[in-house]
C-alpha cells in the first residue's frame, strides 16, 4: 500500500530530518505519531535528510532522547509501529547517509518524492521536524 487508505479518523504525516547527532530530537516524532494513531488516525513518518540514520539496526538500541538515561529509541519506535504507524524513507536520503535499506530495521517502506508529495497533499496535517 502506498497512499492513505482513508479508513481512519484523519491522516497525519510527520517528517523527521534529524539524525543521530541530535538525540533530543529523535523520539518526539514517534511520541506524536503514536498519539495520533491512538486517536484512530492513519499516520506515517517520513525520514529524510539525516532522518534515516535513526532507523539503523545498529543504532536503535544505542541511542535515546536522553542519551544513556531512559528508554532507547527502539522502545518508542515499537510503541508507534505497534499502533500502525508507517515508517517511510527514500533512496536519495539513504545515499546521503551511505545507508542501504538492509541497514535499517524491518518494516521500513521505500517511497519517492512524488509519493511523498501525494501523501502530504492528501494528509490533514503535515508536521515537520
Amino acid at each position: 500500500m502506498n497512499g492513505w487508505s482513508g479508513e481512519g479518523e484523519g491522516k497525519v504525516l510527520y517528517v523527521q530530518t534529524h539524525g543521530v547527532n541530535d538525540p533530543g530530537r529523535s523520539a518526539t516524532p514517534f511520541f506524536l505519531a503514536a498519539s495520533a494513531a491512538a486517536m484512530e488516525c492513519e499516520v506515517a513518518i517520513y525520514f529524510t535528510m539525516y532522518g534515516p540514520q535513526l532507523l539503523q539496526r545498529e543504532v536503535v538500541d544505542k541511542i535515546g532522547p536522553k542519551g544513556d538515561r531512559g528508554q532507547p529509541l527502539s522502545y518508542f519506535i515499537e510503541q508507534a509501529t505497534s499502533l500502525g504507524v508507517r515508517l517511510l524513507v527514500c533512496q536519495p536520503s539513504l545515499d546521503l547517509n551511505d545507508l542501504a535499506i538492509e541497514d535499517l530495521i524491518d518494516g521500513i517502506e521505500m517511497i519517492g518524492g512524488a509519493a511523498f508529495n501525494e501523501l502530504a497533499m492528501q494528509a490533514d496535517a503535515v508536521v515537520s521536524f
Partner: protein, 80 residues
C-alpha cells in the same frame, strides 16, 4: 456521576507521562463492550486536554474528568 457511569474497567496510568495514557486508553477501550465505561486514572496534567481531543477525534464519549488530589479520574464510554 457514579450511578450513571459505573466503570467496567479501571486503567491505572498514574505516574506515566504523555503519550502513554492516550495509547493505553486507546487499547483499553477495545477491551470493554460498546456502551460500557472505562475509568482512566492519570497524574499527567496533559490528560485533561488530551482526553478531550481523543474523545472528539475517536467519537468515544467523555463522561467527565474529576481531579482528586494529584489524580485525574476520567470516565469514557465506548461508543462503537
Amino acid at each position: 456521576m457514579a450511578e450513571v457511569a459505573s466503570p467496567a474497567r479501571t486503567l491505572d496510568c498514574t505516574g506515566m507521562n504523555c503519550p502513554l495514557p492516550v495509547i493505553k486508553t486507546a487499547q483499553a477501550i477495545k477491551d470493554i463492550e460498546v456502551g460500557e465505561v472505562l475509568e482512566l486514572l492519570a497524574t499527567d496534567p496533559g490528560v485533561d486536554p488530551d482526553m478531550h481531543a481523543w474523545s472528539s477525534r475517536t467519537g468515544h464519549e467523555l463522561l467527565g474528568i474529576e481531579r482528586r488530589g494529584d489524580v485525574f479520574h476520567v470516565l469514557l464510554r465506548r461508543t462503537k
